[in-house]
């Protein structure tokens, strides 16, 4: 009934309509019912995305039988937003060997085009599904907030931006919606803008993201000058000629059409910088923990499940470019591995439940970068798979933390409450499932996706371009997995076990949350528990994703054959053991021998490790000293220069007419005859000038 183009337009259009409706009517008309447009719009959008997914699946199955195509894609061109003819100065034929059908049409044509391919379909379903559940959850969580309608307008706007981000087929449009989700993130972090911390966190997120976006923008410029187009897809002109898209079929079909060497590495590193900003990777990860000042549903939706994965999506989309560069994937893996280890080391000692989850998000994003950084098809699909499962269990954990926070009257410090399992049974059970998934306990979704990443790394360490590096990264990833299991269960045990402690802020509020909040928890818990196993054993996920044109490329043009991710028994057993060991250590330390914790802490503190971790490795402070202070000083100097030197010059210029005015003022005597005489003399001068 619904064709792919219709669905592709419907998915972003419905949240946009919800945004407009809520923004227009929310304050005066809808008031307490402001959630309806957003919930309905996002829900329908989810259904559309689901339909789209099935249609794409069917189309993929048919495309397999057809002639040679690189994967499956369908591009829906809506309109051309801007067309500057002859904007580029590239001589015909460059770069590289140019087939005759590529012509030097260097029009700067920005097509507003949406694309349907497996990657987009998966992202759309993930985004809209989690968004829908978070929107339902927010009905309860944001109840009676003065900015109720504003919240839902922002959420719907975010869903619109995010769905557009994953479905546009142009780098410029990608950049635009990249910024749009950043804007929504800024608005929602600073949602309680009266709170100074929230306003500061919003500002910090925006500014840190700006650095990444700057790199991304440079990368887009470089792509334009290198490839002469910004479209992903091929454009077939009326003349029958084709402009090769950056990631178009015709370019993917033949090897060697991608620019290699230094320029390619530069493009990839700039894109990687953008991805680091959006996906909170070292060194731009500092904004994400502070972003927890926003409402918890926002943290769950934007800063855990969806927006932060934009970087992963972008790198996966641009995989051929990274391939062409050769070294870029190793940079991705290096950054991912380092970030994963760093963030999990910080999370071990944090006491703020949401911040622990934030650092775990950073760490898991680092994991996804590791998967992408493997550079192989199994690695990339493993990264995307982890993104998919992570969206469920991290959203679940955040929403569970929000439920705890809701019951504790806004308190989120795990030292101040404990033993809540009897008071909040649903939250407890769902949170436990989320923790098991995050800790990669065997059988839960996180285990399978993480295992695929580890396998991909392990294979690279056996035979690949730089086995030593990937071996180290594999070890780091294993260590991260151990730490992840440990800190996850540390937080879980401190929250739900031990003697019951309830902070006084909670009052008589310390009970289970309403149904609108627990229902999404249960649904997410079911998915967190089983989605990984389902896709792992059917191999459906990676096989489906392999039909994405960008991902099909490496499989086609490199030696490695496109095969299903191998099940490596040794790696699997090792990672299961690591997870169980971490969980067991947490259980022992925090439930059995609580005294040991203090002693261990003291021992660690003696060598400075505890303080280092607790202080988040002092990266914020380092940035403050190394970046903020010098910039503030520069700003102050500029201010001084502007205030006293530039303004002084301007004032000096301003003094000239003032001085002239002061002299000429004396002419304004108010005497009628004086003015008349001046006029007559003026006329006289004009007459004489005319005659002479």
């Amino acid at each position: 009934m619904f064709s792919i183009p219709t669905l592709l337009v419907l998915v972003p259009a419905l949240p946009l309509a919800a945004t407009l409706a809520t923004a227009a009517l929310g304050k005066k008309v809808l008031r307490e019912q402001s959630h309806w447009p957003a919930v309905a719009g996002i829900g329908l959008s989810f259904l559309a995305a689901l339909l789209l997914l099935f249609q794409v699946r069917a189309a993929v199955a048919q495309a397999d039988a057809g002639p040679v195509r690189i994967g499956y894609e369908e591009v829906v061109r809506l309109w051309t937003w801007a067309n500057v003819e002859g904007a580029g100065g590239m001589e015909p034929g460059s770069p590289g060997p140019s087939p005759p059908r590529q012509i030097a049409l260097m029009d700067f044509a920005v097509e507003v085009a949406l694309r349907a391919d497996p990657l987009t379909a998966v992202m759309l379903v993930t985004v809209t599904f989690v968004s829908f559940l978070v929107a339902v959850y927010s009905i309860g969580y944001m109840h009676e907030d003065p900015g109720y309608w504003r919240f839902f307008a922002y959420i719907a706007l975010f869903v619109f931006s995010m769905t557009m981000l994953v479905s546009v087929s142009n780098f410029l449009m990608l950049y635009i919606f990249w910024e749009a989700v950043g804007l929504c993130s800024y608005l929602l972090i600073g949602f309680w803008y009266q709170k100074p911390e929230a306003a500061a966190a919003g500002k910090k997120a925006f500014l840190v993201n700006r650095i990444g976006d700057f790199g991304f923008a440079l990368g887009v410029f470089l792509i334009w000058t290198t490839y002469g187009t910004l479209n992903f897809h091929d454009t077939i002109h009326d003349t029958g000629l084709t402009t090769m898209g950056v990631l178009g079929q015709s370019r993917l079909a033949e090897p060697g059409l991608f620019v290699a060497g230094g320029i390619a590495t530069a493009i990839c590193l700039l894109l990687l910088l953008g991805a680091c900003g959006k996906s909170a990777q070292f060194p731009l990860h500092v904004w994400l923990p502070d972003a927890m000042e926003g409402p918890t549903p926002v943290s769950a939706l934007i800063h855990a499940a969806t927006m932060v994965t934009a970087g992963i999506y972008m790198i996966a989309r641009c995989a051929p470019l990274f391939h062409a560069s050769g070294d870029a994937f190793q940079a991705v893996a290096l950054i991912g591995g380092f970030t994963a280890l760093l963030a999990s080391a910080i999370a071990v000692t944090q006491t703020d439940l949401k911040r622990i989850l934030a650092y775990s998000t950073i760490s898991q994003l680092g994991y996804m970068f590791l998967g992408l950084g493997a550079g192989t098809l199994p690695g990339i699909t493993a990264g995307m798979f982890h993104l998919f499962t992570h969206a469920f269990f991290k959203a679940l954990l955040f929403l569970g933390a929000g439920s705890v926070m809701h019951a504790m009257g806004g308190v989120i410090d795990i030292r101040r409450f404990g033993g809540l399992r009897h008071r909040m049974p649903t939250t407890h059970w769902t949170f436990l499932i989320g923790c098991l998934a995050l800790a990669a306990f065997p059988g839960f979704s996180g285990f399978f996706s993480k295992d695929e990443i580890l396998v991909a790394l392990h294979e690279n360490s056996l035979d690949g371009p730089s086995p030593a590096l990937y071996h180290i990264l594999y070890l780091a990833a294993s260590a991260t997995a151990f730490l992840t299991a440990f800190y996850t269960f540390r937080a879980f045990i401190l929250t739900f076990y031990g003697p019951e402690r309830i902070p006084h802020e909670a009052g008589d509020h310390a009970h289970e949350s309403p149904n609108s909040m627990t229902l999404p928890l249960v649904i997410l818990a079911i998915f967190s528990a089983f989605v990984g196993a389902w896709f792992f054993f059917t191999h459906g996920f990676s096989e489906f994703l392999a039909h994405t044109p960008s991902l099909a490329y490496p499989a086609m043009h490199t030696e490695e054959a496109a095969h299903a991710p191998s099940v490596h028994a040794g790696v699997m057993v090792a990672s299961a053991l690591v997870a169980v060991a971490g969980i067991g250590l947490a259980w022992l330390l925090y439930l059995r021998w609580p005294k040991t914790v203090d002693r261990l802490t003291a021992a660690m503190d003696a060598v400075g490790l505890y303080r280092l971790s607790f202080g988040k490795f002092y990266i914020d402070q380092a940035y403050h000293v190394l970046v903020v202070r010098p910039l503030a000083g520069l700003a102050w100097a500029s201010y001084w220069f502007d205030r006293y030197v530039v303004d002084g010059l301007v004032d000096l210029i301003g003094l000239a007419p003032r001085g002239a005015g002061a002299v000429l003022r004396s002419l304004q005597s108010g005497m009628v005859q004086f003015y008349a005489l001046a006029m007559v003399l003026g006329v006289l001068v004009l007459i004489v000038a005319l005659l002479v």
């Binding site: 304004q668 009628v672 005859q673």
Partner: protein, 150 residues
């Protein structure tokens, strides 16, 4: 007879210019508001003379019609100017235009004449009186043949 008409035009234009110039000089120099007004009217007369001359030269009645409008406007002007001058006179007690410069720049001192003319001494003469009805007025000799003032 083109020569005749050209010469006529020349003469009238020069007379018009003279009237205009004299009126201009009067407007610029005289400080009595009424004389200034008369001078302005004189400038209008100069223009009127020129207009009539041109109208005759081109055989166009519009010149004369424009003069009629000038007279009408001058009448309006006279009515308003008289009312204004009367008001101003009531406020300051004389007709000196130099007293009215309140719109000068605030930092300028008010205008002051540094030198005032000698005013000839007042020669008082008898004012006219009315003799009651029915009696023959006995006018002094001085009154009948000389008046020092109007």
């Amino acid at each position: 007879m083109i020569e005749h008409e050209l010469n006529l035009l020349t003469n009238f234009l020069v007379v018009g210019a003279l009237l205009f110039g004299i009126g201009l000089i009067g407007f610029l120099t005289r400080r009595n508001m009424i004389i200034m007004f008369l001078s302005a009217e004189m400038m209008l007369q100069g223009v009127s003379v020129s207009l009539v001359a041109w109208g005759r030269y081109f055989n166009d009645l519009d010149g004369q019609i424009l003069v009629i409008f000038i007279i009408a406007v001058a009448a309006c002007e006279a009515a308003l100017a008289l009312a204004l001058i009367l008001m101003l006179f009531q406020r300051r007690g004389n007709l000196d235009i130099a007293l009215w410069h309140d719109l000068r720049e605030s930092n300028l001192p008010p205008y002051v004449d540094h030198e005032l003319p000698e005013i000839p001494p007042y020669q008082s003469g008898p004012w006219p009186t009315l003799t009651p009805a029915g009696r023959r007025p006995d006018l002094p000799q001085q009154e009948t043949d000389y008046r020092s003032h109007v």
